[in-house]
Point group: C2
DNA sequence: CAGGTTGATTGCACTCAGTGGCATCACCGT
DNA sequence: ACGGTGATGCCACTGAGTGCAATCAACCTG
């Protein structure tokens, strides 16, 4: 077996997710992950900053899309609808084909407080990006931050519903209906 | 010196905050904190679950107040205003007297990504409590979560402004003005 | 006051995450 | 063939967090 097998990151990620699912995040050591991927422990840390990051690998790919979708919204659309439209666009392109992966991801995440903590960082950076895009559209400094966090909350509420096995609606649909439900109660 | 000096937790917390401020969070070891507090390293972990928790010690004291203030709001008040009123009430009682402490807290937090990550967990549990209180008032399941996160965002935006040295307004005032600015742009 | 109970503190040994430095290897262009 | 580049491997080290058992101060009870 050649030492230079391609796709080291992917192999590490697959090994990690499988082990996390089987044994739990805390009961899995980085050494085990590396061994299953046929790599060295040290190599794991060349690919991922820490043990938690491997779970979220490649999730920022959708973010330029998100931001440009927000910018593409007409000036007349209010900030929350603009942000939600961006999230729905990103969801359509990147989420709909991942149902199986999303289930595994959700299961692993739900089982580990440490991973849920890290996910909150992802939420926060997402909210920051959205807020910046909203500011560029002319929304006030503070209102942009609040609207961004509200939109992110809409997104995650929708994603939870989308992850339920019984669900048959698309993520974008769920985002829009959650958004309207929220806007309905605050006016 | 008796071995049984009272206030071990407080001493540990003071030692930790001072050291974090002087040297940074990552450059400070638990052993240093314990030594400065005149205690053993192991004792630190009997008082705090981990090195990050010491920074947030005693912050949940205001949460019953928050929840009861939300419940005390008239039925006619919309969810976001109810949540913000609760936050303002908690702010009035617990924050206004801590200006100096809040500055130190803010400085330490701003200097450490690890601590900001942990703070997001605090935000999330706060949002959960608010959402539960809103549901009890009759707000729909999903809208309650979104409104809660939006209210929490309002709170933290306001707290950031309140922490600025130039600021002269109370935290409750800032919460209300940020809230109205947000509600103004989403309608 | 002796003796027992309780809870806070201590000490030790251990696992494991994460890091720094350096060697090694595969591959690519010339 | 040769030098460069980047991915991988090895080793040793620091420090967080844990499990377990011993110790000690204070308090209670008879």
């Amino acid at each position: 077996m050649a030492r230079w097998e391609p796709g080291a990151s992917d192999r590490l990620r697959d090994a990690a997710m499988t082990l996390f699912d089987e044994q739990g995040f805390e009961n899995t050591t980085v050494a085990q992950i590396a061994e299953r991927a046929g790599l060295n422990r040290r190599t794991f840390f060349h690919h991922f900053a820490d043990k938690r990051e491997v779970v979220f690998a490649g999730q920022d790919a959708s973010e330029e899309l998100l931001v440009s979708a927000i910018r593409a919204q007409p000036e007349t659309v209010d900030p929350m609808r603009a942000a939600a439209a961006g999230l729905a666009a990103a969801a359509d392109t990147f989420y709909e084909q991942y149902r199986e992966g999303a289930e595994l991801f959700g299961r692993v995440l739900a089982a580990s407080p440490e991973l849920r903590e890290r996910e909150l960082v992802k939420r926060a950076t997402l909210a920051e990006k959205i807020a910046a895009a909203l500011r560029d559209r002319g929304t006030g400094e503070s209102a942009a931050v609040v609207a961004a966090w509200a939109a992110v909350a809409v997104f995650f509420v929708a994603r939870n519903q989308w992850n339920q096995p019984a669900n048959r609606r698309t993520l974008a649909e769920l985002i829009n209906s959650e958004l309207e439900e929220f806007l309905g109660v605050v006016t």
